[in-house]
Symmetry: none
Subunit: 361 residues, 2 copies
DNA sequence: CAGGGCCTTGAATCTGTCG
DNA sequence: CCGACAGATTCAAGGCCCT
């Protein structure tokens, strides 16, 4: 990145205007918590709104939605320009605005990957008993486009959920207690401060250490604070000087975890590749060894170049597994078994053992 | 209602065309399960190489967003005309289409009351590990307009939820087993049959006995079947003759409950399950914390994804405990200890104390 | 007949790298 | 940009069979 690039800073300024100063494709991930209603709220409470039927084209309402849509389209377009081609964006909203956000994101070319439901453990009850308790907010997670090679730390998310796939519904508490920033009167500093746990999951799921994360609506600074703690870089934009000051102080108090503490479960597809042939060469699984499928219904012989032979078929561990079963593809490492010390074991164990040895050194 | 009014019938015909024959303000509630516009790209296989039977029906294919939006606007406009001024509408969708649905509903003058998350207890996993498990669908519940005196059976919902306010996130299973209609080959009749429990809650929440419920996308007939069972009237519209036939037969088999039987059924009890990772995210036991075994002979560090690291070994609290001691298995909750307020305490105490996380379901 | 094991299935935008 | 190929990847239920 150029020396001009304002990394690890909280910038005071208008969201769109400030984004315009950042170069194309310069951030890896965006987290945005845009204003929910703007003018819509005032309109909702208007006392003279007693028209019952027919006036569906209430120009006032239309104007309000249009204003919100225009603002949304403008900042999202700018965000998309700044986002790396393989980057992802998170946008959070409630039913007041999230449908407009999502539709505009799709129109601009973002490719939605998931909608995530943040289920609040402690939502405010519905006092008047006229609706269901509004107990969740929605996050839209999207790649820059359908072709983006986006990052998703699948194994880390699985680990975080007791070794089950992380689902699209997340159960997390609101930001309360000591985590909630207070002003000089002891009142909450910001009306919608997001919990650190939410940003923790977002950042661990979709970024790597040293990635650059942009938050165009920084507010109380949960995004830069968690980015710093988790060893990510950040750029945050905030209009209100009080929030800028509070966020900067908050981030200054934060400490970066050491790289050892930051290490999460690695993605298997990013582990160093070990050719099957290396086990043949080193004599761990010498040429002539017979491999079987799990049910011992298929059998193949290891050859000196690391291919397998079965009848008149020959190929890599993957190709032969696919060929013999008629499947379009096959992971040979988990398909084939051999006998060792009287035990019937998957050949993948060799890879696992050799990776464990590497970690020692 | 006029004698012409086709109450308690399943009409065969195009959705919009058929709605045009119904009078203004003639139905009390609408439940709509429109095409989702999934845009599936190719064949998907499970890890065991079996093929997933996806939705490849013609009715779910649209050329582009604009085409889908036009269709959506047309049927929603007609639906709004038919809906009583104090009526409500339910529309279900997934992230593929729900943002467009919601934005168009707002544009047409509908007043959103809640967005409801149907959390699936048994969703299909994400087989390639590239996204979060898509474990929910969204229902938008809206009144005809901001001034509608809509119906919401607050007490019935509260009773259904163990005397707590019903929240906006509902935990219900998919429609499987004997409830799922089969064709003559024993395969699922309809690709997207909705569970009866979902319609049960929708109708009990937002309609009274003898109300008229419209379903413009009847499909396999869950709406009319549940309307009849719950003593509501229905009008259903379906294009495909096979679905019309099956739905009519299904409804004929259905019996109206007596008013005594209409008493609500108890809510499904949700099993608490607290992943260790949730304590890491929420900062109760932040990444970097050091854990020890009871004798303080072993030691491990908490990482951001909720796994533990000790030397070159990594794993869940259970796996690492087993790995370090050479035991075949280990209960990590009782094996690991940490220091808190100068005390040396078992991590299991966090689970016991965690009232806030009790309701995880 | 109770319980365990095996098989099936569900609205799904489902790969990455190297040559 | 395209083709080849290595190889990563699943959870909860329900039904049915067997012991």
């Amino acid at each position: 990145m150029s020396g001009e690039f304002p990394v690890d800073q909280i910038l005071r300024g208008e969201c769109i205007e400030t984004m315009k100063t950042l170069p194309d494709g310069s951030v890896d991930c965006i987290f945005a918590d845009p204003p929910y209603n703007l003018q819509l709220r005032g309109e909702l409470r208007r006392p003279d709104e007693t028209v019952v039927d027919g006036v569906d084209d209430d120009w006032d309402k239309f104007a309000d939605y249009a204003t919100y849509d225009n603002f949304t389209r403008d900042w999202l377009r700018e965000a998309r320009r700044i986002l790396h081609k393989d980057g992802t964006i998170w946008v959070i909203g409630s039913y007041h605005n999230v449908f407009r956000l999502g539709a505009i994101m799709q129109d601009l070319g973002f490719w939605i990957l998931n909608d995530i439901v943040w289920r609040k453990s402690n939502p405010m009850p519905n006092f008047r008993g006229r609706r269901f308790t509004n107990a969740h907010e929605t996050l839209i997670w999207a790649a820059r486009g359908p072709q983006s090679k986006y990052r998703f730390n699948y194994q880390a998310m699985k680990a975080l959920n007791d070794d089950l796939q992380m689902r699209s519904d997340w159960y997390l508490p609101l930001c309360t207690g000591n985590e909630r920033l207070k002003n000089e009167h002891g009142l909450k500093l910001h009306p919608t401060q997001k919990p650190e746990s939410l940003l923790h999951r977002v950042l661990v799921a979709s970024t790597n250490a040293n990635d650059v994360v942009l938050d165009p609506f920084c507010g109380s600074g949960t995004t830069p604070a968690m980015a710093k703690r988790l060893g990510r870089h950040y750029i945050a934009i905030e209009r209100h000087p009080d929030y800028v000051k509070a966020a900067r102080e908050r981030v200054a108090r934060e400490e970066r975890l050491t790289s050892e503490q930051l290490a999460t479960t690695p993605a298997r597809r990013e582990m160093p590749r070990i050719p099957f042939g290396s086990f043949v060469e080193t004599g761990v699984l010498p040429a002539g060894t017979v491999l079987y499928d799990r049910q011992k219904r298929l059998k193949a012989t290891v050859t000196p170049d690391g291919t397998l032979v079965s009848g008149n078929q020959r190929g890599s561990i993957h190709k032969l597994g696919a060929g013999l079963t008629g499947a379009p593809s096959c992971n040979g490492w988990t398909f084939w078994y051999f006998e060792r010390d009287g035990q019937f074991v998957q050949i993948d164990i060799l890879r696992q053992e050799s990776q464990a040895l590497r970690n020692v050194g």
